[in-house]
Amino acid sequence: MKQIAAVTADDNILSLAWCGDSLAATPSTGEILVLDAAGRNGSALAGHGAGNGESAWFGGSLATCGFDGKIRWNGREIHAGRGIIERVKVSKDGSFLGAGQGKSLLVFDQDGNPAQGLSRLPASVADFAWDPSDSTRVAIVGAGGARMWKFGESEPFARFDWGGASLRVEWSSCGRWLVTADQTASVHIYDFTRDYPLHIQGYETKVRAMAFSADGKRLATGGGSVITIWPCTGKTGPEGVTPVQLDGHDGEVLATAFSPKTGQLATGDGTGMVLIFTFEGDKATRKRLRLDAGISALAWHPEKDWLAVGREDGAVSILSL
């Protein structure tokens, strides 16, 4: 493992996002940094006042957002309302940028024009995920659970509103699985092929980190110091299966990311420990790296074996494995 670049932002790293060899590091407050291909600090974009939201690359430019209710992208500033924006996300085909603000999901096309979004939703948008196979469909979570919407329709096309509240959501790239991290120490997994929900409880803490592998066959969840890997294959997926539990962390797992190139899993905890798991069948071997501050974000390069590691003290490292 070799460090090929490093930079330090003003605050806890909230999110990391790759675009080719450029890496965007978004801190909780202050300027958002973009490292160039050589690992240099290429540019710094203005922050969003009291707090930044998670950034995303959209059409080769970085879209940023925050507690000031603004989205900045490609020289534009969009101020749709006073409510906070916690993150922007780009549809898998790259055609739309979405942002949750209060009870609305704002959607913009590549020209920055408002596209068909959703408004007057039954609950505020805590998080959302694009359908990987259809950029006119999204899953939105918040109070009540998850609801799946198609733009232009007045009712959700699917509901997994289990009555409680969900804070984060991921849609597997294969399109079959949706997972929500809940306000309680649990996750809900939905199998679209069977229209079937699973409620998984028993985590030590609220699940603050989760990720699907690129092929959608594995789901890694935090929820304490142990990482739980749920198999998302076969007819019933995780149902009735004993998951693989990976230990080695000293603190609560705060970040997880699967490499789209190698399938390796990187996990980071609040004590500064990074573990890299390599899977061979049912077995996993691990490498360990100890850093000086808690790990708050991880992101694999889309094509190389580079791992970006963001820390609570604002430091960002790019490691070559």
């Binding site: 806890n12 407050t29 707090g51 906070i84 409680g164 509240a165 804070l167 120490a185």
Partner: protein, 344 residues
């Protein structure tokens, strides 16, 4: 995992330890002040006063009330209030999702805040706001409720008090009541109004104000449930408790008894009481002498959630028990009898 209304043996001597969290103040946690009150009661005026005064505090403000009068401050965060039900309708598991998400993010910042102010909407139920800092582990670990401050429009509150649950609950939940716009009401009327508020909430500190003018520390430095404060107001609520007031919906029931309690019996009775009546109990506060224990036990609760902490040694003070319930349709006789059955 915390279970509803059945936290076992939290009042026995063995558990007389420093609390990990809850509503009690803690040096390493950030204080949160919750501003409630009907639209027009003066919340934004008070907020502007706090933010413009030279107090040297770094304050984050979460505003649910998007009023016409803007608050000009770099750390004002606007969000719609969002109720999260965590356990299918269980009242004590109702928290505020917007606060959990925003504060979760704010607490990750390297540069921490000295204080968080939450301005609720005029029709907000304070219950879920307070419970957020009790029921969510992360919030409990990093923040504590300094005070629920309720602004009351002295001129107009009587229009709402009889037919608005929210108006009564905002008063019932208060640690501090600012009886505002006093310049618009005759002193005799103010006395009557204050008496009525006192009958609903025997524990709150009531300040009469005009234009929400008050020393900031009376709002920002309340310090959560403070033992000295509890003892200070104790004689008053007991005295008020014997009078009949026409606000039969929301009342305070004060109980005082010399001697020691049986910790096990007290724990069982409190657990049963909140399990059966928690929906109608807004707040509970108390100080107990537990048989065999050298220290005072400070107790506080919101609906069905209870918490206890060590209040330090009794020393030379006479050992006695003090307990206050603030709630709706409380049975004073039954509560007194239930408590007295717990005496050792």
């Amino acid at each position: 995992m915390f279970s509803v209304g059945s936290r076992s043996n939290f009042l026995t001597n063995e558990s007389c330890i420093k609390p990990k969290g809850g509503l009690f103040s803690g040096m390493d946690r950030t204080p949160v002040t919750i501003l409630t009150g009907f639209l027009g009661a003066g919340k934004t005026t008070l907020l502007n006063r706090i933010l413009t005064e030279e107090h040297g505090l770094r304050i984050a403000v979460i505003e649910n009330e998007f009023g016409e009068i803007g608050v000009d401050h770099e750390l004002v965060i606007n969000a719609d209030e969002e109720i999260f039900e965590m356990n299918n309708g269980c009242i004590c598991c109702t928290v505020r999702g917007d606060l959990i998400r925003i504060l979760g993010n704010l607490m990750k910042r390297r540069e921490k805040f000295d204080h968080v102010l939450i301005e609720t909407t005029g029709l907000a139920d304070p219950g879920p706001v307070v419970q957020t800092f009790f029921a969510d582990d992360e919030m409990k670990e990093k923040l504590f409720v300094n005070a629920v401050v309720t602004l009351v429009d002295a001129k107009h509150i009587l229009l709402h008090l009889d037919d608005s649950d929210e108006a009564r609950e905002q008063i019932a939940f208060a640690d501090v009541v600012l009886l505002n716009k006093c310049d618009l009401v005759a002193p005799g009327e103010l006395d009557k109004l204050e008496k009525r508020i006192r009958a609903m909430n025997a524990l709150a500190k009531i300040h009469r104000t005009t234009n929400a003018g008050i020393e900031i520390e009376k709002v920002m430095d309340v310090g959560g449930f403070n033992l000295d404060h509890a003892m200070e107001v104790n004689p008053h609520f007991l005295e008020e408790g014997h009078h009949h007031h026409h606000d039969s919906h929301v009342t305070s029931v004060g109980i005082e008894a010399d001697g020691d309690c049986d910790g096990k019996k007290l724990n069982e009775w409190l657990s049963r009481t909140v399990r059966e009546q928690g929906a109608d109990i807004f707040r509970m506060k108390g100080v107990f002498a537990i048989k065999g224990g050298l220290d005072r036990i400070i107790f506080q609760g919101v609906h069905m959630i209870m918490d206890a902490a060590n209040g330090g040694p009794w020393g030379d003070r006479p050992r006695k028990n003090t307990l206050v319930f603030i709630g709706r349709n409380l049975d004073r006789v039954a509560l007194n009898a239930g408590f007295r059955a717990c005496l050792a």
